[in-house]
Symmetry: C2
Subunit: 457 residues, 2 copies
């Protein structure tokens, strides 16, 4: 027992082990008189930018995931808690988790976003999105089951539906998914089937705006569209999905394009529809609104002050994709990994300076540029001062991702896996696993019954 009174350390509770939460925690690792509790409902940090490579059979889940306990084990002032935040009492400074309540001095909310179906939540089962490992494995399962089912299907119309892939949303995720599926169908799998010609597959990328990769420079959007076309992807811009209805042959996607005066309505029957179109705030956004009066934007993201705190609560910060930060430039800071990392580090440093009674520096977002990969050797890069595409962009993309994978034990392995795939064009991870991983007559018919979201037991 220590007879001398030592000051109680300042307790920072961080919810969410994504980029922003993890980097906030790491920055506070070994900080004097600060103890940190990192709460996450999963036991690993996920490198989300590469999730589409799991969905298309290039990488394994463990290649892009790293156990939070392993990453943080050397920081003895950090405790990792596998639990889920459900409520908050900002007056009492208590966070309510499913299994316990924990008091905090400072709360950092970094719970991110999930899919948004724009009021069509009934599409969730038909058109899964891509946010979790389970999502990616479900997409992988559907994509490879589709080719297997097509191989066995004798009805030409149904076979065509199995070989039709519709990707909704032309942002980076949609572009990368479409490119990867095109490489699968037109290259990797070409010699693998006996009854079907996988190069007859239709890959349709739908985007509501007038170009793919809308946040990028128009030149790069054009280059990306060109690369996608060269790969065999049909790109449709200014096209909205208005309906998805089941039919005997597959799901009928109704698309609307043209002008309000002269709309063009088309349909396409597909067995695989992938959603890459929108995000909405995770549940903690609403909790902050209800309990702490935080204001939220249209999709539920929390409007934050210049230091990422919420109005009226200087000890509650919101960072990462859940934050709407509108204090720099014309648009909010984008929901990308570098922005999340910078916010996490900034908040951690700000907190330390405050505790030490030092003045707080303003946050300045350093945009490292935009990157999207379209396929082997094809990528677009916008570094602000320079824009380029083609193989140099592909290599830039690879190195940028390896740089950010620096937290990962398996960086080297991922790099080698890429190198291997690059030269062989093979995809080792194209396994059909999980429920429905066993081929049967009904597998095709019930391919939708699997639970997409991790079950909240």
């Amino acid at each position: 027992m220590d007879a001398i009174a030592t000051p109680e350390p300042h307790h920072v509770v961080i919810i969410g082990g994504g980029f922003s939460g993890l980097y906030a925690a790491k920055t506070l690792g070994r900080a004097k008189n600060i103890k940190v509790t990192l709460v996450d409902k999963r036991n690993f940090h996920l490198f989300q930018p590469l999730l589409y490579q799991v969905a298309t059979g290039t990488l394994s889940p463990a290649d892009i995931s790293s156990p939070l306990r392993g990453i943080l084990s050397d920081y003895k002032n950090i405790t990792v808690l596998m639990d889920e935040a459900v409520d908050l009492d900002p007056q009492a400074q208590v966070l309510k988790l499913r299994e316990q309540e924990i008091p905090y001095d400072t709360l950092v909310v970094a719970t991110g976003v999930s899919h948004h179906y724009f009021g069509n939540d009934q599409w969730r089962d038909t058109a899964p999105g891509l946010k979790t490992i389970e999502d990616a494995l479900e997409m992988r399962r559907r994509i490879f089951v589709a080719f297997e089912a097509a191989e066995k299907e004798t009805d030409p119309e149904k076979r065509k539906a199995w070989l039709t892939f519709v990707i909704v949303g032309g942002g980076p995720t949609g572009v990368e998914l479409a490119g990867a599926i095109a490489e699968l169908a037109y290259r990797t799998l070409k010699e693998d089937f006996r009854n079907i010609d996988t190069s007859e597959a239709t890959i349709l990328l739908l985007e509501g705006m007038d170009r793919v990769l809308p946040p990028y420079d128009p030149d790069l959007s054009a280059k990306a569209a060109e690369s996608l076309s060269r790969l065999g992807v049909t790109v449709r811009t200014k096209t909205l999905v208005t309906q998805i209805e089941p039919s005997d042959s597959g799901d009928v996607v109704t698309m609307k394009s043209g002008t309000p005066d002269n709309p063009l309505i088309e349909t396409m029957t597909a067995r695989t529809i992938l959603w890459a179109a929108g995000v909405k705030a995770s549940g903690m956004g609403k909790v902050l609104a209800d309990r702490a009066g935080a204001s939220c934007d249209r999709v539920g993201r929390v409007m934050v002050e210049p230091d990422f705190s919420i109005a009226g609560y200087p000890n509650i910060f919101v960072i990462g994709d859940l934050a709407h930060y509108a204090h720099q430039g014309d648009r909010p800071i984008p929901g990308v990994a570098p922005a999340a990392v910078q916010a996490g580090e900034y908040v951690a440093k700000t907190l330390q300076r405050r505790i030490q009674g030092q003045s707080v520096e303003p946050f300045i977002y350093k945009d490292p540029g935009s990157l999207a990969i379209i396929g082997q050797n094809a990528a677009v890069v916008d570094l602000g001062f320079v824009k380029f595409s083609g193989p140099p962009a592909w290599f830039a993309w690879v190195f940028a991702h390896i740089y950010y994978l620096i937290e990962f034990d398996n960086k080297l392995i991922v790099m080698l896996q890429w190198g291997w795939n690059y030269f062989t064009r093979k995809r080792g991870a194209r396994l059909i696993t999980g429920e429905g991983g066993v081929a049967t007559a009904e597998a095709a018919g019930t391919y939708r019954t699997r639970v997409k979201e991790p079950v909240e037991v």
Copy 2:
């Protein structure tokens, strides 16, 4: 249209893409006037000897799996069919799959074995076995959930149950699992938790015979037991599990040892019980018995003729773990990968010689020796003419496995992953995924509800 009548190729249907089926198919690849259909309910070949490394978080499923279509795509006379065999008409020479019927000239059955609970099938959910990728991911989930739950548990008795791992069966799988879990608890995870000391975990390996690795030389069994003890595993031989009953604190395992006159009954409460104790024939064994009058042994394996055909049906072969081959030595050929590979190659060559009217050579099993890994740097090797253990055995084990992984694109990756793990003692693949992958209050309580077998939809 070809006006000249060409002879219809001989149609070989192989059921099962494990070691024996795959090597039979490959040996028939490019064979003249033979066409092959390989039927498997999964779309990949699984390197089962390394499945325990997936179960304990070292390797990813894709590291030890390889898509069958990819392996065989260059053999244009081979068609891969993702389907499941359910019945057979040996007179009409027609195999019934779930989705279609296919005629054959020669049938090769290589559907393997599954777990055997010796009449206690109710233990299946409590004590999962290790045969499929899904089994391995379920074991991985339970092992890592147990540490997470122990970290949160405040009741000392319940916490102890979470930190108790019982492995039933002291064959190679049981020994390898116990060794890997010991390394996890006593090394890898040691620094990762704040409330528990993972080195207080109890790892109990139960074996009914008088020593672990019963088929090996007694010297090596002793060396293996010694290595396990040094790692911290409690080895109990001549001990049978007689009951597994749920309780508030966990599952109570009742063990019987001693002599029939003087039995010793003990209990141990554990949250994680893993089954590595027995095998029984897959469903095709019974189909062959019912339809073709095949005789089966005690666990349902099919008794085969010296050429692996079944009595009365020279055009039906049974190979791999499903076959009981008792024509060489005192004991049946063991259910190990090298025996399966040799049988597959032998049957394929025999068939070709028969079709060409050549005489058939007798099968001679070449025993490459026995190997088991106990932990880092600890393994036992029995090559017949020489037996050794310790680090040289570990390296022999690594190289033997790499040799057999030769079919795999990812051999190099696996080797590097091992090298990395070897030097860092980290385990990157310790993800808790799938249903129950999200931490909640009830996750612990309902950890048993997940479907262990791939659902036969």
